[in-house]
Point group: C2
């Protein structure tokens, strides 16, 4: 018997029929002899509807009240799910984040979990019941106010609860079959990845793969908790996110083939590129730029500085940041122009960041050569380059993104025989 | 400066515009120098929509989960109301029943308040904020589960909180101007009652007047807390529900005219009449009938036993109960027919109970004579009669109800000069 934490996203519980289908799946897991703890998001569009109501009432609602409002969403889905399970003859009890012991700081809208005290959940399990826990929400340690965890919050709830309870696995149910070697909507021949390390998953999440949120993977890595990403619409095995050692063990047990060199290709079209033109080429200038951006809390990603043109004594500094922060970044630079001393600012949001991720890169030379040859053969112009130990990223025109991803995917022999299945909708 | 608890029903916060209107009213009260605590129901149809969702998922949902589901309703309205108040420049903080210290027993769906510990509410007031409390809900003392108080629950929340905090008045905002001498939809010339005693209000609530729920009036009477029932759609004075001494004081201060003999006429068309035919006329038979009904938790109201027909040694026992319990009552009697020994059971749901309520009845003879003359003049047939110290009730055909109420209303000189204003919708 194992302890399994199952997380169902909003698309898995979009209506009464879906709620019943998920209930059946949970009861089947229980009947197979496992202890099950369920984490659930708000139904389908509930969160958007609540945000719309808030907007009708107030242009800038206080974050404490917005959290109180939004947490009504999971309250509805979790109660309905408990009812549906009860109808199948099993006992289920729903718990708010606060009742489940999800203790957070008081940063409303983006609270961080600082402790998990799942006493009531353990008690419910001991009494043979299936606890249903509201995802995305917690209670602030100091103010005792209701908080929400921000984007990807329900995944984080599930992983945090699984880690605190010593679960054997955290199953994240979503609307795709698992993690793919590329977005199946861009590359129809994308291949499902059976095993992936936390590190690779973090790199993929950071460069635009939407399956799992960064925070939840970081949390799982810290506790070496296996995550199983799978579809709530089928019973197929999904993708296991684990430590390299756990994957090696799985290979030794014959549960997995040898790990591929490359796990995936991702495209992120939500970044903007800003060029600071004509910066005096002397020590401290770059520091002034990035200090100004850091003070404005801009998340800078790639940075390139051109070789200085000797005649002018000036250089250009280019960086990327999320499109949503571009205006803020421009404002921050403009208001520090006295310190920085540039000639002009250019912003460009027609870019895409294409990334290749794979733990095998470390030990396999020639990956870069194959990568850049593929881009050259597909006539994709490279504007910026950045690398980590297990990732290569480039910036190109947004119009070239699809062609670039497809070319790289083929060049590394990742194309599958069949086409991937894509379901509609996404969870919170 | 006084402490005022204001309760707004579902019809007062039916949409974003109504929420903003109510917020303005609350802020105005605060600006007039009062401390304000607000209790709010779920918006308009929210509760019905949530019940509909539950029905789609499960035919007989577990009461614990139904309570968890329904309490999402107030969570939404209270957060929106706090946002709207914030937008007007005042500080507001919303609190669930549990956060506000509404401690109940664990009878899900009809929980009783056993303690009120409004520590966080007092603290919010001290910090100059306006606390917004979810009506209708609490937390069970033993299980720590979320509970709901059942029908009229939000009024009870408001009165309980007002009593615990030593408020000067509990204002119940609704969609009518106050308590009327009859239902204005039946008697257009119904007159608004400026002052009414708890006792009279209890009798009126018990016989079908929907303005205030029985439990909330009982609670207010126990703590001698004045209730001011008024419309959230106008700024007119409503109806004050107070102790006789407080009304006497108000009359002495010139705030009120002398109290009328009669406060109102009410019709209740939700009862059924059951006749147990041919009961042996010997001691213990009536006891057997009402023991069977009590065991089945049937709320029996009026009881009449006909004079025994000497020839047969048998008699008929007739009683009324809510239509919703009629089938259950029949079943309970049928399954105890061995003990009771009757010949037949007749049920009749085409009845109306017409009641006249007034504290002045005690000291004014002739009230009954006027009452029955009015009914006779209007050709209303009286089937059953029951009286208390301050009430006379009769049962008649449901088709005669409107005519009966109008005739009595006129006979006691209650008709006003103008017509009453009736607003749409009702609160929870």
């Amino acid at each position: 018997m194992s302890l399994i934490v199952q997380k169902y996203g909003g698309s898995s519980v979009a209506d009464a029929a879906s709620v019943k289908r998920v209930a059946r799946r949970i009861v089947d897991t229980k009947k197979a002899g496992h202890d099950v703890v369920v984490v659930v998001s708000a139904m389908g569009d509930t969160t958007d509807e609540l945000l719309d109501l808030a907007e009708q009432v107030s242009p800038l609602p206080p974050p404490r009240e917005l959290d109180m409002l939004l947490t009504a969403g999971e309250r509805i889905s979790m109660a309905l799910l408990a009812m549906a399970i009860h109808d199948l003859g099993a006992e289920a009890r729903s718990y708010t984040g606060s009742q489940a012991g999800l203790i957070t700081d008081s940063a409303h809208g983006a609270a961080r979990i600082i402790d998990v005290s799942p006493g009531r959940i353990t008690e419910a399990l001991e009494q043979g019941a299936i606890p249903i826990v509201a995802g995305f929400q917690g209670v602030a340690q100091d103010t005792k106010d209701v908080t929400t965890l921000g984007r990807g919050g329900s995944d984080t709830t599930a992983v945090a609860l699984a880690a605190a309870m010593g679960a054997d696995v955290c199953e994240i149910y979503t609307d795709v079959d698992g993690v793919f070697s590329a977005d199946p909507r861009v590359v129809p021949k994308a291949r499902q990845v059976p095993f992936i390390t936390y590190e690779e998953m973090l790199e993929l999440a950071a460069v635009g793969a939407k399956v799992l949120h960064l925070r939840c993977v970081e949390y799982a890595r810290r506790f070496s908790l296996p995550i199983h990403v799978r579809s709530s619409f089928s019973t197929k095995e999904g993708t296991w996110v684990m430590s390299p050692d756990a994957i090696t063990a799985a290979i030794a047990e014959g549960r997995a083939m040898e790990q591929p060199i490359i796990s995936g290709v991702a495209a992120d079209i939500n970044d903007a590129k800003i060029t600071v033109v004509g910066v005096p080429d002397k020590p401290g200038e770059a520091a002034a730029i990035f200090r100004a951006l850091a003070n404005a809390k801009i998340n800078v990603d790639m940075i390139v500085q051109n070789v200085s043109a000797a005649a002018t004594g000036r250089t250009d500094v280019t960086f990327t940041c999320p499109q949503g922060s571009a205006q803020q970044a421009m404002d921050a630079l403009q208001s520090n122009s006295g310190d920085i001393g540039f000639e002009a600012l250019n912003v460009d949001d027609q870019i895409a960041k294409i990334s290749l991720v794979g733990a095998g890169m470390r030990s396999h030379p020639g990956v870069s050569a194959t990568f850049f040859s593929a881009l050259a053969d597909a006539s994709v112009n490279v504007e910026m380059i950045s690398t980590s130990e297990i990732r290569i990223s480039i910036v190109t025109r947004v119009d070239d993104a699809q062609r670039a991803v497809q070319a790289i995917h083929s060049a590394f022999g990742l194309d599958a025989d069949g086409e991937a299945v894509v379901y509609a909708g996404t969870g919170r």
